[in-house]
Amino acid sequence: MEKHGFAQCLHDCKGPEMKDPAIEIHDLTMAYREKPVLWDIDLSIPKGSLCSVIGPNGAGKSTLLGCILGTYKPANGWIKIFDVPRDQSQELIGFVPQRESVDWDFPIQVLDVVMMGTYRSLGWFRWPGKAQRDWAMQCLDAVGMADFKSRQIGELSGGQQQRVFIARALAQDTKIILMDEPFAGVDAATEVTIREILIDLKKAQKTVVIVHHDLQTVEDFFDHVLLLNLRLVAAGPTATTFTRENLLRTYGGKLTLLDEAAEAVRRIRSGRSTGKRG
C-alpha cells in the first residue's frame, strides 16, 4: 500500500485494516463551493454487508452516496471500488434515488422505469427488446409490483413508488447497491417488502449501503453502520458502533429530543402489539 501521511494515523486509530472491502474511502473531502460538505472521511465498507449511513439533516449522507456513485467529484482524497480507483472502475453500482428527486408527473410507466436498469448493458443506439422486458418484469415481480406495470408512476403510493425504484436497481444487476432513504414515508407493507429484499440481497452476497433516518430500526436491519456529520464520527459493525455515546457525538444535543420521541414511539408500539385494538 502507498504512504498515507497524517490520515493514516487516524485510520490506524479506528482499528485493524479491513480485508478486501467493497468500498474504500480515503481522506475524502467534498465541497460544492468553498465550504466542505464532507470533511476528511476515511472508511471501508465490507463486502456483502448491509450498511446504514446515519446522521442529522445536512450531514452529507446523500453527498457521500453521490461520491461513491461517481456523480460528484471529490475535492480531495480517493474512493476505491473493489480495490480499483473510482474514476478507473468499470464496476457498476445500483442506485435508488431519494423520493423527492423524482419528477412524478413524468410520462413514464412502471415497467419503463425498471427497464432503465438495463439501458447501460445495451449501449448507445440499441433499443430494449423482449429480453430486457422479461428481465424487468422479473425484477418487478421480486418487489411485488408486477400487477402495476402499466401505471404511470405518479399514480402509485409512496411505498409502491419506492419499490419500483428498487426494482430498477435490481434490474441493473450490480454487486453494490446504494439507496437514499428507501424507508422514508413508506407504509408497513412496503417496509416488510423492502426488508425481505434486503435479506435476499445479503444472501446473494451483494453490498448494500442505505441512507437511513429511523434510529429505531438500525439494529434490526443493518449489520454495519456509518455515523456521519460532515466528518465520519464512527464506522463499524452495528453491535459495537451503534452506541448511545456515538449517537450523541453524531447528533449532539438534538439526540435528547430524538430519544424522548423514540421512547414514546416504542411505548406505543409495544402497547399495540400486545393486542389492545379497536
Binding site: 468499470q90 442506485f95 413524468f106 413514464i108 419503463d112 439501458y119 443506439f125 411505498g159 408497513a188
Partner: protein, 404 residues
C-alpha cells in the same frame, strides 16, 4: 389547387413539424421550454452579421451566421449556471434579451448603412414566409429535419434517461454531458432551419406547443414523442396551406395558430387528462358518493324501524343530499317514492348493506396502512372486496375481538 412548389414547401414544413415535435418533447420534459425561445432569438444577430459579411441575402450566409450565434447562446445558457451562481432560468432570460437586443441594433445599422435591400426580407425572418421559400431551400429543410428526427428516434432511450433521471443515468456510466450536448446541437440546428418557414419570433412555439399537446393524450414517453411529431406535422401542413391561400399572410403565425387549435382541443377533450373528462368523472364520482350516502341513511332508518322517510328530510334537514343523487337512486331502482316519503327497495337494501360492510373493512385496512394511497381511498364496494381478498390485513383482528 396545389401548385408543385406548394407541394415541395409542404414536404419541408411537415418534416420540420415532426422534427420540432420530437425535439420539443425533450425540452418540455426537462422543463426547459424557454430555452427554445432564447435560442431562436439569439439567431437574429447572426442573421444580420451573416448578411453584412457576405454582402448578400443567400440562404447559406444567413444560416451559418444564425447557427454560430445560436451555438454561442446555447453555450452561455448551459455554462453560466455552472460557473456562476446564476440560475438556469435567469441565464436563459438574459441570453434571450441580450442577443435579441443586439440583433435589433445590428439590424437597424444594416438597414441604414448596409448594402441595402435587406428590409424587404426582414419580416420573412422575423415571422417566416414558407410560401416564399425556394424549392432547393425546402428540400434542404426536409433533408435536415428528417436526419435529426432519425437521430432523436435512435437515441430515444438515452434522451429518456437524461430527461427523467440524469443522476441515475450518470451513475450507470451513460454519458449525460454528451447527451445534453447532442440535445443542444439538435435544438440549435432545428431552430436555424426553421427560420425561413416560421421565423425568429415564433419558432419556439412550434417546438413547445406540440409536445404540450401530446402530453394530454398519453402517459408514455415514446408515445408522447410520436403524438408530438404528428401534431407538429399537422400544424406545419395546415399552416402552410392556410397561409398560401393569401400570399401576404406570414406562415409562422398561421402554423402556430393551427397548433394552438390542436392544443385547446386536446386540453378539453383528451380522455384521461382533458378538462371535460376530468369534470365529468368528478361529477359522476361525487354523485355516486352522494347516492350511497342517501342509501345508507335510509338503511339506518330502516334498522330503527322507519320504513318511510320524508323526502324533505333527505333533501333538506341534516342530510342536505343533492337532488340529482336522489334521482340516481330512483333510476337505479334503489329507492321508491310514495307520496312525500321515500322507501328503500330490496335492491336498495342489498346495496346499502354491502356498501356499509365494505366500508367497515376498508377503514380497518386503512387504519393499518401508515400512508394513504390517494388513488385508492375512494373505491366502490366491488373494488374494495377484490382488493382486500388479494391483500389481506397485515394485522388481522381475531374474530373474538371484532370491533363493536
Amino acid at each position: 389547387m396545389i401548385l408543385p412548389n406548394t407541394l415541395v414547401v409542404l414536404v419541408g414544413t411537415s418534416t420540420l413539424g415532426i422534427c420540432c415535435g420530437l425535439i420539443g418533447s425533450l425540452l418540455l420534459l426537462r422543463k426547459r421550454a424557454l430555452l427554445a425561445d432564447a435560442l431562436a432569438h439569439s439567431t437574429l444577430p447572426g442573421i444580420v452579421l451573416g448578411f453584412l459579411i457576405a454582402g448578400s441575402q443567400s440562404y447559406w450566409a444567413l444560416g451559418t451566421g444564425a447557427l454560430i450565434t445560436t451555438l454561442v447562446g446555447a453555450g452561455l445558457v448551459s455554462r453560466l449556471p455552472v460557473v456562476s451562481r446564476i440560475r438556469p432560468d435567469s441565464a436563459t432570460a438574459s441570453v434571450l434579451g441580450v442577443f435579441f437586443g443586439a440583433g435589433i441594433a445590428l439590424l437597424s445599422l444594416a438597414q441604414r448603412s448596409g448594402p441595402g435591400a435587406f428590409s424587404a426580407g426582414l419580416d420573412h425572418f422575423l415571422l417566416g414566409q414558407a410560401a416564399g421559400m425556394l424549392q432547393q431551400e425546402s428540400l434542404i429543410l426536409a433533408g435536415a429535419a428528417t436526419l435529426m428526427s432519425l437521430i432523436v428516434i435512435l437515441l430515444h432511450k438515452e434522451f429518456l434517461t437524461s430527461c427523467f433521471d440524469s443522476a441515475f443515468g450518470s451513475s450507470t456510466g451513460m454519458r449525460m454531458n454528451t447527451i445534453d450536448f447532442i440535445v443542444m446541437i439538435l435544438l440549435s440546428l432545428t431552430i436555424v432551419i426553421s427560420l425561413p418557414a416560421v421565423g425568429v419570433v415564433l419558432t419556439a412555439a412550434l417546438v413547445v406547443i406540440p409536445p404540450a399537446t401530446a402530453r394530454f393524450w398519453t402517459d408514455r414517453f415514446t408515445i408522447m414523442m410520436a403524438i408530438s411529431a404528428l401534431i407538429g406535422a399537422a400544424s406545419g401542413i395546415s399552416g402552410t396551406l392556410l397561409s398560401s391561400l393569401r400570399v401576404d399572410l406570414p406562415t409562422g403565425p398561421v402554423v402556430i395558430l393551427c397548433s394552438s387549435f390542436f392544443f385547446f382541443l386536446s386540453m378539453l377533450l383528451a380522455p384521461h387528462r382533458g378538462l371535460v373528462g376530468k369534470r365529468l368523472r368528478w361529477k359522476q364520482r361525487s354523485q355516486r358518493r352522494e347516492m350511497l350516502r342517501i342509501l345508507v341513511h335510509l338503511f339506518e332508518n330502516l334498522k330503527e324501524g322507519n320504513d318511510f322517510v320524508a323526502k324533505e328530510r333527505i333533501i333538506a334537514g341534516s342530510m342536505r343530499a343533492r337532488p340529482d343523487a336522489l334521482r340516481l337512486c330512483q333510476s337505479n331502482g334503489y329507492v321508491l317514492q310514495a307520496g312525500t316519503h321515500l322507501q328503500l327497495t330490496s335492491e336498495g337494501i342489498i346495496r346499502a348493506q354491502r356498501s356499509v360492510e365494505a366500508r367497515k373493512k376498508w377503514i380497518r385496512w386503512l387504519d393499518d396502512a401508515a400512508e394513504i394511497d390517494r388513488n385508492l381511498i375512494d373505491l366502490d364496494e366491488e373494488d374494495i372486496e377484490k382488493l382486500l381478498s388479494s391483500r389481506p390485513l397485515l394485522d388481522q383482528p381475531s374474530p373474538d375481538k371484532k370491533p363493536s
